[in-house]
């Protein structure tokens, strides 16, 4: 008999009484803020409390803010998507002061060391946000691969206010996650950090040292 069958046999034919199957009341999680303004405030406060940076911007001025953010970090390049609207908007803009623009257009094996050592910042879209925990929802794609939001020391994410949910549970239901998960889904809630050395917080231990959110307030989807 295989280990699988042995384990399942032991579990199926347990000695005790039938274990109870209790009802689960999820209403305690139903704490989402009603108004968008409240959600925006909660998102901003929560994310900033863990060292994230939130910039409230608009469709007409987010590119300017992006350049500002990059310049204050003295980023010499920016890794950004090729297909996604935000990537196209940056590439097609005549914004002055943009650094060199890079694409993640090859399998990681072909440029791993460059990605790990030579990329200063990355820009990704998001699939939404969660106000309660100050989280960004990312579903990496071929256009915005998984390591884009992890390896460069500065990660800049664009979040549309219209995609800001109250709670994680709300987001999962609204976006129908149960009907099909991607290869990798992520919640990102701040820069990479550790407190493993005597409970002292240090940022950028493996992932980005900085997480910057450009929150587009007037984007209706």
């Amino acid at each position: 008999m295989s280990a699988r069958e042995q384990i399942l046999q032991r579990l199926k034919h347990r000695r005790g009484h039938d274990l109870p199957v209790p009802e689960c009341d999820f209403s305690v999680l139903d704490r989402g803020k009603a108004s968008l303004a409240d959600r925006l405030d909660q998102f901003e406060q929560t994310l900033e409390s863990v060292h994230g940076e939130v910039h409230r911007v608009h469709r007409h001025d987010w590119l300017e803010r992006l350049v500002e953010v990059l310049q204050t970090r003295q980023a010499s390049n920016l890794l950004l998507p090729r297909e996604h609207a935000i990537g196209r908007a940056v590439r097609e803009s005549r914004q002055r002061g943009l650094p060199e623009l890079l694409s993640y257009d090859r399998p990681i094996e072909n440029w791993q060391r460059d990605l790990f050592t030579a990329v200063d910042a990355s820009l990704t879209s998001t699939r939404g946000g969660i106000a309660e925990t100050g989280s960004l929802i990312l579903w990496p794609t071929a256009d915005e691969p998984r390591l884009m939001s992890l390896v460069p020391p500065v990660h800049i994410a664009v979040l549309k206010a219209s995609a800001l949910y109250g709670t994680f549970l709300e987001a999962i239901h609204a976006q129908g996650w149960a009907s099909g998960m991607p290869t990798n889904a992520l919640l990102i809630s701040g820069p990479s950090k550790t407190a493993d050395i005597e409970q002292t917080l240090a940022y950028g231990v493996h992932g980005p040292k900085e997480l910057i959110v450009l929150l587009i307030e007037d984007d209706q989807g």
Binding site: I108, A178, N184, L187, T194, D196
Partner: protein, 477 residues
């Protein structure tokens, strides 16, 4: 006791000398006290605007429901994982699990493994096994990395290096990696980042644990702050996730509730920096991620715990560590005194099943039964009740419910059993009982001042001049 170097089992049996040594080590006492006080305060603050009792009830019910459906959920999880392109393996025990992992590595000619934090792999002693088979296994969680450099084991399940202070870590990193001596935590962290990034790039296989496995979608969930878990599961061409069979939950909704409880209970965070949900290997059009993903479902004693209607509650655990953070014993003796993979209250109720009560007979008694662990447990595991149950099992002390746990009765002593039989005999015979108490009160001057270990730190309880029966009789007359 077996000869030679301290094997993990010797360490368990040596609980008393280790605990005594830790109690007399001011550095250990200080490090743990400071850390646990901070963690307790953070947890409290994180739940302040929650209906915590309702949330704990939800957490408990989710886990109870998942355990009631465990075999079906495991089959569903397996089907979903396979449909998603993930390979599933089953292991009866730690050796089988190590064998599976090492075979996957050898089939890929892998020589270098990078690891994310996984308590199951600690339980399996996987690193040692891989080293014996010529495979280098490097821990990438900063705390685990430090512990590995020091050739030690984690002293806390969430913060493995909590027993060390900055100076000790600086000295260790200087000796082992050539980093400059410094008390600057940012500098030490940055050095580790640089060294580990190289290792991520070179690794042939990444090994991680799993916090929750979702049956409905075939999704592996990992909770972490550092990003090393994401690196481990994304950079190397092969990812192996090892998990206990009890980690499965029915759906994504369940995950949201358990996540809310886990991070707040563990470190007082609303959420960790990363919540990483993996459902498939790299797809043909994708540019990164592992081409192969394996899941090893590890039993290692869990299906035995599952047999017992009371002990099964042990399997609800979501490994937050709140019980140890709030334990007065753990805070004073630290994680290493226990000599077990899982220290503190959860270790006391879990390790006897993994190692046998004969090896771990001191653990259930290393508690004041103050109840703090049960009060803070996010999934309402009745830890104090289970400690009492295991104490009974250790002495075969309950004739109506014969002991179940492997190695039961190992603490039973003839003298103690006789004493209790005598106690029972006297207490079930009123005339004899009155005679005995009368005699005891009259002969109280003969009572010894020292009563074994009890009077090491306390004064001996004094018998009263007259028994309660006598006093009440006087009052009535």
């Amino acid at each position: 006791m077996s000869d030679g170097a301290a094997s993990p089992r010797d360490a368990v049996r040596d609980f008393h000398p280790r605990a005594r040594a830790a109690l007399h080590n001011p550095q250990i006492r200080h490090n743990f006290r400071k850390a646990m006080d901070g963690l307790m305060a953070k947890r409290k603050a994180a739940f302040h605007d929650w209906d915590l009792e309702a949330l704990r009830t939800l957490g408990a019910n989710i886990r109870r429901r998942a355990l009631a459906q465990l075999p079906d959920l495991l089959v569903q999880l397996e089907q979903q994982l396979i449909a998603n392109g993930i390979q599933v393996h089953w292991a009866n025990d730690a050796d089988e699990a190590c064998h599976i992992v090492s075979n996957i590595c050898l089939a890929r000619h892998a020589r270098k493994v990078i690891k994310g934090k996984s308590m199951v792999s600690e339980e399996m002693e996987l690193n040692d096994y891989l080293e014996e088979h010529g495979i280098e296994a490097l821990e990438s969680d900063l705390g685990e990395y430090i512990v590995q450099l020091a050739e030690e084991t984690p002293s806390h399940i969430i913060m493995p290096a909590i027993h060390k202070n900055t100076g000790e870590i600086s000295e260790l990193m200087h000796h082992k990696t050539g980093t400059e001596r410094s008390n600057d935590v940012e500098y030490l962290t940055a050095s580790a980042r640089a060294q580990l990034r190289e290792k991520f790039m070179q690794a042939d296989v990444g090994i991680s644990g799993v916090n929750f496995a979702v049956a409905e979608t075939g999704t592996l969930c990992l909770v972490e702050n550092e990003g090393n878990g994401r690196m481990t599961t994304t950079v190397p061409p092969c990812h192996i996730a090892v998990t206990g069979i009890e980690k499965v939950v029915p759906g994504l909704d369940d995950v949201t509730a358990l996540l809310a409880l886990l991070t707040r209970s563990a470190t007082g965070q609303h959420i960790t920096t990363y919540f990483n949900m993996i459902s498939a290997p790299r797809q043909p059009n994708e540019l990164d991620g592992p081409e192969e993903v394996h899941v090893v479902l590890v039993d290692n004693g869990r299906s035995t715990i599952y047999q017992d209607d009371e002990l099964v509650d042990t399997l609800r655990c979501i490994r937050c560590g709140a019980c140890m953070n709030h334990c007065p014993v753990y805070t004073r003796v630290g994680g290493h005194a226990y000599g077990t993979t899982y220290p503190g209250p959860i270790g006391k109720i879990l390790m006897p099943h993994l190692l046998g009560l004969d090896e771990t007979r001191h653990l259930p008694s290393a508690s004041s039964l103050c109840g703090a662990c049960g009060e803070v447990c996010p999934v309402r595991i009745p830890i104090p009740d289970l400690l009492v149950r295991l104490r009974q099992e250790a002495v075969d002390g309950d004739r109506l419910h014969p002991a179940q746990v492997r190695g039961h009765g190992s603490k039973r002593s003839g003298a103690e059993a006789l004493a209790w039989r005598l106690w029972q005999w006297v207490h079930t015979r009123p005339a004899l009982y009155r005679l005995a108490t009368r005699l005891a009160t009259r002969l109280r001057r003969l009572q010894p001042q020292k009563v074994g270990a009890w009077t090491d730190y306390r004064t001996a309880p004094r018998l009263a001049r007259r028994s309660l029966h006598e006093l009440i009789k006087d009052k009535r007359s």
